[in-house]
């Protein structure tokens, strides 16, 4: 028997909001985020993200949706064979940015996460916290309307996690909407933001 990963989940996030998505591991947070960036298809219901009707998107339209999103994961997913700078520039290059725009934009993003001095380092030479900051720089370099953060502090110690959260708050303060998923209920409480709680695929709390 197949059980739905999410059931009867309904919520709206306004532009410019910072929303925490909490819940234990396996509660459906990642599935929910994947639905939002069209990596999964909902069996029923409607999803609208950044003006896109995600459930009606054709395969060829998915890149258009994702260009308006920044996505970070627990694992930074950096390209091992490229330097920090190249990891950021890669995104701009594959999105067709003009050649003369790539370097200043990439450095601006690195500056925003406090890593402009580590531009020539390779991912293997970075701490986990630094790697996650590069992942954040990569997510914001294309100025997304919405940042989806899936357990970005899950692998980090408290101090590094704090730095990442401060950076995400900073990004949010500049106008980017944030949906921050975490299984750490203490962290969710510390953030003091609107919190959506998922339990076994069901939205059990929406408060803050």
């Amino acid at each position: 028997m197949k059980l739905p990963a999410l059931n009867d989940v309904s919520f709206t996030v306004d532009k410019g909001e910072f929303v925490v998505l909490s819940g234990a591991s396996g509660a459906g947070k990642t599935t929910l985020l994947r639905l939002l960036y069209a990596d999964e298809q909902a069996s029923e219901g409607d999803i609208e993200v950044a003006g896109f009707d995600v459930t009606a998107l054709r395969r060829s339209e998915i890149p258009l949706l994702r260009r308006s999103l920044g996505i970070v994961f627990q694992d930074a997913k950096l390209l091992a064979g490229r330097t920090v700078f190249e990891n950021i520039a890669f995104v701009l290059r594959v999105l067709g940015a003009a050649r003369h725009e790539i370097t200043p934009k990439a450095f601006q993003a690195l500056k925003a996460v406090g890593l402009s001095t580590r531009a020539q380092a390779y991912p293997a030479q970075l701490s986990q916290g630094e790697a996650q900051r590069v992942a954040l720089a990569r997510a914001i370099v294309k100025s997304p309307a919405l940042l989806l953060a899936d357990e970005p502090t899950g692998n980090l110690d408290e101090e590094m996690a704090g730095e990442i959260i401060d950076l995400i708050k900073d990004i949010w303060s500049r106008g980017t909407t944030v949906l921050f998923a975490t299984h750490q209920s203490r962290l969710a409480a510390q953030l003091k933001r609107r919190t959506l709680r998922l339990d076994s695929g069901v939205l059990t709390k929406d408060e803050g």
């Binding site: 890149p63 258009l64 308006s68 996505i71 390209l79 594959v94 999105l95 067709g96």
Partner: protein
């Protein structure tokens, strides 16, 4: 393009194997093509030389000859008619005998008949057409015997067609092998590049940006294979043609063997690129699946 070249380096031995297989298939294809091309020239040349000779019972008077010529020219499929008198026939015999031409002088009388040399029109040099023409010419009351036809030229043409079929069959098998190898090479590269591909898709790169390097990688392999194949064919031609030409002259009447023309060379190169590109596209399909 730079991504494609980096990918090709990453493919290593499998990439080299793909290039070699494309080289092999295009060399085989090009080799058969060269043979077929030269046989085709021989066939065309011999088709131009097809003649039907009508030996006459008696040497006609000028007015009878004019009448006969006009009746023959009026037949379907006749391009030209040339009269060869008994004296001309003897003169030709004398010339062809060369040093032994004195033998002719010992003949009590000219034994050679007068004849009409009939050149079939273009399109009427097939065995069927020349047989039909010969039958009509044989029905003339002035005709003693009719000789000539296009059977052996058609035999040559059949060989040419056989070469074309063999070339296509061998080429197709090797091309298939080449496509599969390019597919494997590109799939391996895709596997190595999956982190990049994942990032590209996550940030919203269009599918064409994700896939074009794979297509280009295959095409570069194909182009390399085609260029090497052409080099091999050129060397084989440069070495082989001078040795084969006397034999070709003797058997087929071909003074010289020709190499592929520029459009044919470009077609072979394009063929290589298409083979490689197909391999890249198939790899894409497998990676997506």
């Amino acid at each position: 393009m730079s991504e494609a070249l980096v990918d090709l380096r990453r493919a290593g031995r499998v990439g080299v194997s793909a290039v070699l297989l494309i080289t092999l298939s295009l060399t085989a294809l090009g080799g058969f093509w060269l043979l077929s091309l030269n046989l085709g020239r021989a066939v065309a040349q011999w088709r131009d030389r097809v003649r039907v000779v009508v030996f006459l019972k008696d040497e006609p008077t000028p007015s009878a000859l004019a009448d006969l010529t006009s009746r023959v020219e009026g037949l379907d499929g006749v391009y030209r008619v040339r009269y060869v008198s008994k004296a001309e026939a003897l003169s030709s015999l004398r010339q062809s005998l060369g040093a032994q031409s004195g033998v002719v002088d010992h003949l009590p009388r000219n034994p050679l008949p007068a004849s009409l040399e009939v050149t079939p029109a273009e399109g009427a040099t097939t065995p069927e057409a020349t047989r039909a023409l010969a039958a009509k010419l044989a029905a003339f009351p002035e005709t003693e015997e009719v000789q000539g036809g296009a059977e052996w030229v058609e035999g040559l043409a059949r060989w040419q067609r056989l070469f074309q079929v063999v070339a296509l069959a061998v080429g197709a098998v090797l091309a298939l092998a080449a496509i599969l190898t390019v597919t494997t090479a590109t799939t391996l590269v895709l596997h190595a590049r999956r982190a990049e591909t994942e990032v590209m898709r996550l940030v919203g790169a269009s599918e064409s940006v994700v896939r074009v390097p794979q297509l280009l990688q295959g095409m570069v392999q194909g182009l390399l294979g085609a260029v090497v194949a052409l080099g091999l064919l050129e060397v084989a031609y440069a070495v082989g043609a001078p040795r084969l030409e006397p034999l070709l002259q003797l058997t087929l009447g071909l003074a010289r063997a020709v190499f592929l023309s520029l459009p044919q060379i470009l077609l072979l190169i394009a063929g290589g690129a298409i083979l490689g590109g197909l391999g890249g596209l198939l790899a894409r399909g497998r990676a997506v699946a």
